[in-house]
């Protein structure tokens, strides 16, 4: 079992140990305690398991971490500056970019979001920014409530166990842990029927490393309800279904790996539960986690599937690789202690981008597996809202900011110019300006372009198993079916 620690080295990479960024100051009004520059990172992502650094303190852990080969992968400073200014421009004209240059956004997410703007970008991509604006004061309201004791008890026991070597979470009862508590508790109040699932804590912790508690809360809400609906619900049906979907996709991606896992009777749930439920935050080296999340926020769950498939393919995808793990246990051991080479940022990201697994395929597979599930298990016990595949789908499903400022029309004109009376002067046809509201400013522009028009621009983004309507219809706040 010593092999499982082999990957400790590359995991131990400073989070955002890049040179200080002047952009951080001017562009992140939302940025709270979690600054842009963070040395030490989530080195502890898996340190709990590594053990050796335990008790030796943060300083010792850091000295071990800093002289890392990862430095080679760092983006040159000039490039970083350029990216920052490009991202600033995008964020300041977000709706326009989203409507017209979504592919460019996707490309830039694939290249990696500059660390100084990452937290902000995630909020825009996930639609959590819109969500927050629609629910001003909601988080504070939840924050003041005491919460259900049965959840508080479990949450409290987990607080000190999330990224314990990250400077934010290192001290018991410190700011990081307090905020983590607030975010997780607020979620149990926001969705009392869901409560708290232990796999939500690492997700919330990663978010808190990039944004203040209120923003992290809404981002968590988006992940739980739009990106990975049902993952954390009672019964955990959604994750089990995705395990089957993953396995079925593996058949196409790597028949060798598929055959081996079938032969060894290794159920996907054994290796993919933590991968998927924690969005690889406890699996990959830190720099890879961030790159994967950048793409995940933009492109949705497809990225999670692809990462899983790439890892499986490169671990078990050739007879040569299988030589040393012929048994069931050996195979699982191998999957648990993945080779650092295949988790390395540049390699992994490239492989993920190139892997031809589409939303359409995932949705098709979803239907097939759902049917099988019904045959063997009966109806799903937890109804979840439909999965939205990334920023584009969310921005189309989620109403623009102005929704917060006006009543939602009960009838929505399906196509043509947006139904906003004062927007006549707008130059773009499929985009309306917001109602000159106080919320005007970056990102406050309307984004209510009809879905039909968008599908013409991006025909690939609508392969949902539900009807098109659910993509472009307004979300009725609580879309639980």
């Amino acid at each position: 079992s010593a092999t499982r620690n082999a990957a400790a080295g590359p995991r131990s990479v400073p989070a955002a140990g890049r040179p200080s960024l002047s952009a951080a100051g001017k562009c992140s009004p939302l940025r709270g305690a979690a600054g842009a520059l963070r040395i030490g990172g989530a080195a502890g992502a898996r340190q709990g398991r590594v053990g050796s650094a335990v008790g030796t303190g943060l300083a010792a852990a850091l000295t071990r971490l800093i002289p890392s080969p990862r430095r080679l992968e760092e983006v040159p400073l000039e490039v970083l500056r350029q990216r920052e200014s490009k991202w600033l421009d995008m964020l300041n004209n977000w709706d326009k970019w989203m409507a017209k240059k979504h592919k460019k956004i996707r490309l830039r997410c694939q290249k990696g979001i500059p660390p100084s703007l990452r937290g902000r970008a995630w909020q825009y991509l996930s639609g959590s920014k819109v969500k927050l604006e629609q629910n001003i004061g909601k988080f504070d309201e939840l924050d003041l409530l005491p919460g259900e004791p049965k959840w508080l008890d479990v949450i409290e026991r987990d607080l000190h166990r999330q990224f314990p070597f990250h400077e934010m979470f290192v001290s018991r009862g410190g700011h990081g842990q307090q905020d983590l508590f607030r975010v997780l508790k607020a979620y149990t109040l926001y969705r009392p029927e869901e409560g708290y699932c232990q796999a939500q804590a690492p997700i919330a912790a990663v978010l808190l490393m990039h944004m203040p508690a209120e923003q992290a809360f809404w981002c968590l809400v988006q992940i739980c309800e739009k990106y990975l609906p049902g993952y954390y619900s009672e019964k955990l049906e959604a994750i089990q279904l995705d395990g089957q979907i993953l396995f079925s996709l593996l058949h196409k991606v790597s028949p060798v790996a598929y055959k081996h896992l079938s032969k060894q009777k290794i159920d996907p749930i054994l290796y993919m539960t933590e991968w998927f439920m924690c969005a690889f935050s406890r699996t990959l080296p830190w720099s890879s986690v961030l790159r994967v999340w950048d793409m995940f926020f933009c492109e949705g769950v497809k990225i999670i599937f692809r990462v899983g498939l790439v890892l499986l393919k490169h671990t078990l995808g050739s007879s040569d690789k299988l030589k040393s793990c012929q048994g069931q246990y050996e195979t699982m051991e191998r999957l648990r202690a993945l080779s650092p080479k295949i988790m390395q940022e540049t390699f992994l990201v490239q492989e993920v981008i190139e892997l031809p697994v589409t939303e359409r395929q995932i949705e098709r597979e979803h239907l097939i597996q759902l049917k099988k599930w019904r045959e063997t298990h009966g109806e799903l016990q937890c109804k979840s809202p439909p999965r939205l595949h990334g920023a584009k789908a969310i921005s189309e499903a989620e109403p623009p900011t102005r929704k917060a400022l006006e009543p939602v029309p009960s009838i929505i004109v399906p196509a043509g110019p947006a139904p906003v009376p004062k927007a006549r002067k707008s130059k773009e046809k499929n985009r309306e300006k917001s109602l000159g509201s106080p919320a005007n400013g970056p990102g406050a522009e309307g984004n209510g372009a009809p879905g039909a028009a968008r599908e013409l621009l991006h025909p690939q983004v609508s392969p949902h198993h539900q009807s098109k309507e659910s993509l472009c219809s307004r979300e009725s706040e609580d879309t639980y079916l």
């Binding site: 079992s1 398991r49 314990p164 699932c197 690492p202 009672e234 049906e237 933590e274 439920m277």
Partner: protein, 213 residues
Amino acid sequence: MEAIWLYQFRLIVIGDSTVGKSCLIRRFTEGRFAQISDPTVGVDFFSRLVEIEPGKRIKLQIWDTAGQERFRSITRAYYRNSVGGLLLFDITNRRSFQNVHEWLEETKVHVQPYQIVFVLVGHKCDLDTQRQVTRHEAEKLAAAYGMKYIETSARDAINVEKAFTDLTRDIYELVKRGEISIQEGWEGVKSGFVPNVVHSSEEVVKSDRRCLC
């Protein structure tokens, strides 16, 4: 390469969240104690060889499970293929003790027609000053369910070896007596590679090598 082993036993470790399941297993398999360990998400697994008699080694496959109730829909699928189990509670957490009954019921339902040889483990016994469950009541409960009871501490390495090896010996005895047998399609007990070792129940008296740590 793998060392030679006589049998492979699959054990499962269950109990409430934060009673110390992963820490106990890691102490046993890796010989160290992690002050902090991530909450287990889903199922995890470990392995170690145990020598129950000189030259007789048993390979243990130890399955760690998430303690949070929500994960039971996933973890319960792994009860069935286990021959033995450690049911943990935290001696400083009364509720985890009260839930022992529920855990047993839960496994019973999902393990049929097989059965799991359980040992009840009162964990974190180094924290004696914060104790909320007396040894006496734990022993009584264990006896009522026909289990052995042992108190362990992963932090101070108290009885960790003993908890696992005693359970392994008990299962081994049952296997030897034919009360538990290897079955096709069941992973609980598997026969290993045994070159030149004649399996005999008349083997010398059990070694007294119990590690007291």
